[in-house]
């Protein structure tokens, strides 16, 4: 399996690894497909993601996708972060092998779950189509 240079860089030097103790939103998603788990912590000030950290149990692609995702959403508004798709994560990583596409889906879901958690904690708003399975949109 050949990973791109960017994937290997993010795997070997993952950005934003860790936890945020006083996080405003935490999203943990697991992929039953292969038993991997991704956890994203968000610090949100004035609707902007001021800090983000992750913990991931998974393959090289899952770790790289988590790392890239944190970079993509850091400094963005919550709404912008909600627009993040797994495709954008893959593109930023210069592609993933087909069997690893679900690792990027996991990253997208983790962000949505974390924002969902933030909304729940802060103004009880729910994110449409987030990991809760909400279909109100």
């Amino acid at each position: 399996m050949a990973y791109s240079k960017i994937v290997m860089d993010h795997f070997e030097n993952p950005r934003n690894v860790g936890k945020i103790m006083d996080a405003d939103g935490i999203g943990e998603v697991g992929n039953a497909v292969c038993g991997d788990i991704m956890k994203i912590y968000l610090k949100i000030d004035n609707d902007t993601i001021s800090d983000v950290k992750f913990n991931t149990f998974g393959c090289g692609a899952a770790i790289a996708a988590s790392s890239m995702t944190t970079e993509l959403i850091k400094g963005k508004t919550v709404d912008q972060a909600l627009q993040l798709t797994n495709k954008a994560v893959m593109e930023a990583l210069d592609g993933l092998p087909p069997v690893k596409h679900h690792c990027s889906v996991l990253a997208e879901e983790a962000v949505k779950a974390a924002i969902d958690d933030y909304y729940k904690k802060h103004d009880n708003k729910e994110v449409c189509g987030a990991s809760t399975g909400c279909t109100c949109k």
Binding site: T56, F57, C59, G60
Partner: protein, 390 residues
């Protein structure tokens, strides 16, 4: 440092083997079926190789059939026994849960054709129990096929006992000995083996060549239609260089089997001892009944592919039974057969050694691996829970 610790996947071809093969490309290049001198020189090499391999297994040369490797030998042996069985209305086949896919997928195919496949448990130790085989045998059992030693965890099955039970019942006993040949003493007569598969590239021979042993008296059906090669059972001009290389490799490794085994066992023991000190780690498979070269550990809270990538970056080549490395949805069927939960099976690492490995290499692994485990654990939400005791 470059450490090749994946000898269960394949081995390096030895210098002596290459030397034995080379003349078969340029000097003894004839077709063994040809009447002329150059052809007959090749025929002589071919039969010499057959008899060398026979001696190493205590088989007659005429009981050996060359194949393209272990996979083909497994396919052939199993399908052959199924054809023989079906003629007598016997459609029950016994195997084990942790066979190689060459066996399991062939059995799946037969199941679709109406055969009843019964897979014996291997329990947490990775060993088939003879009493289970005894209890499973039926009037309509056509075949028992149990691997000699497992390729992922290295456990050695009680082959002579299983063979004896089958012989007493008059049932064909096949063993996939791909991981065992050249590494363990095998005597097909003493061990009651009716059919056996072997593959050259697991003992420093070339890839793409192997053999099927089929005991005299067991009918063997044609597997590949064509010329009269392999007594008409497998058509196609023989791969002389590879067959000669396989014989040279087996002869060489058989001569040094005890010496190799002592050396490789010492490496295994050192590694097992060191890795057992890693918290939340476990050695997979029985501690005693194992091949000298295979060490398989699970490290909780992390995933195998990530471990492999980090090891590779440091020059260490190993393998894993994690789902993420297989491209399939489940972790290795071998680890699941041991009763390991998916989550733990994901964190498996197989390191396999040959006599070409050194103590320095194992020390290098012992130095490099624990920090990798620690690093991956430090970023794992699963490990966080394990540490909290959840």
């Amino acid at each position: 440092m470059k450490v090749y610790a994946d000898n269960a996947a394949t081995t390096a071809v030895s210098k002596e083997v290459v030397d034995a093969m080379l003349p078969c490309f340029t000097k003894i290049y004839g077709n063994p079926s040809s009447v002329h001198t150059i052809g007959q020189e090749a025929a002589i090499e071919l039969e010499a190789a057959r008899s060398t391999i026979g001696k190493c297994l205590n088989a007659e040369p005429r009981e050996l059939f060359f194949t393209s490797g272990g996979t083909e030998a497994d396919n052939w042996a199993i399908q052959n026994a199924a054809i023989i069985g079906a003629k007598k209305n016997k459609r029950h086949i016994i195997s084990s849960r942790f066979e190689h896919h060459a066996v399991l997928h062939t059995l799946n195919k037969l199941e679709k054709q109406g055969f009843e496949i019964q897979l014996l448990e291997v329990y947490s130790e990775g060993l088939v129990r003879p009493e289970d085989l005894q209890a499973a045998l039926r009037e309509d059992t056509a075949l028992v096929t149990i691997m000699y030693a497992n390729n992922e965890i290295g456990t050695i099955q009680p082959i002579p006992l299983l063979g004896k039970i089958c012989r007493d019942h008059g049932v064909i006993f096949h063993t996939d000995a791909v991981q065992a040949v050249g590494h363990l003493p095998i005597d097909v007569k003493e061990q009651f083996i009716d059919m056996l598969s072997l593959s050259a590239h697991k003992f420093h021979g070339p890839k793409g060549v192997g053999a099927l042993y089929c005991r005299k008296g067991i009918p063997l059906n044609v597997f590949i239609e064509g010329g009269a090669q392999e007594r008409g059972k497998r058509g196609g001009t023989e791969n002389i260089p590879s067959i000669v290389g396989m014989a040279a490799a087996l002869e060489q490794i058989s001569r040094k089997m005890e010496q190799n085994s002592d050396k490789v066992f010492a490496l295994q023991n050192t590694l097992i001892e060191a890795l057992s000190a890693v918290p939340h780690s476990r050695l997979n498979g029985n501690r005693e009944k194992r091949l000298p070269g295979i060490v398989n550990f699970c490290f909780e809270g992390i995933e195998g592919e990530a471990m492999l990538l980090m090891l590779d970056a440091l020059g260490i080549c190993a393998s894993s039974g994690s789902a993420c490395t297989s491209g399939s949805l489940d972790p290795s069927h071998v680890l699941l057969a041991l009763g390991l939960p998916h989550e733990i099976a994901h964190g498996s690492l197989r390191m396999s050694f040959s006599e070409y490995n050194s103590k320095e290499e194992v020390d290098y692994i012992i130095e490099k691996l624990p920090p990798i485990i620690q690093r991956l654990r430090s970023m794992s939400p699963v490990w966080e829970k394990i540490e909290r005791g959840e």
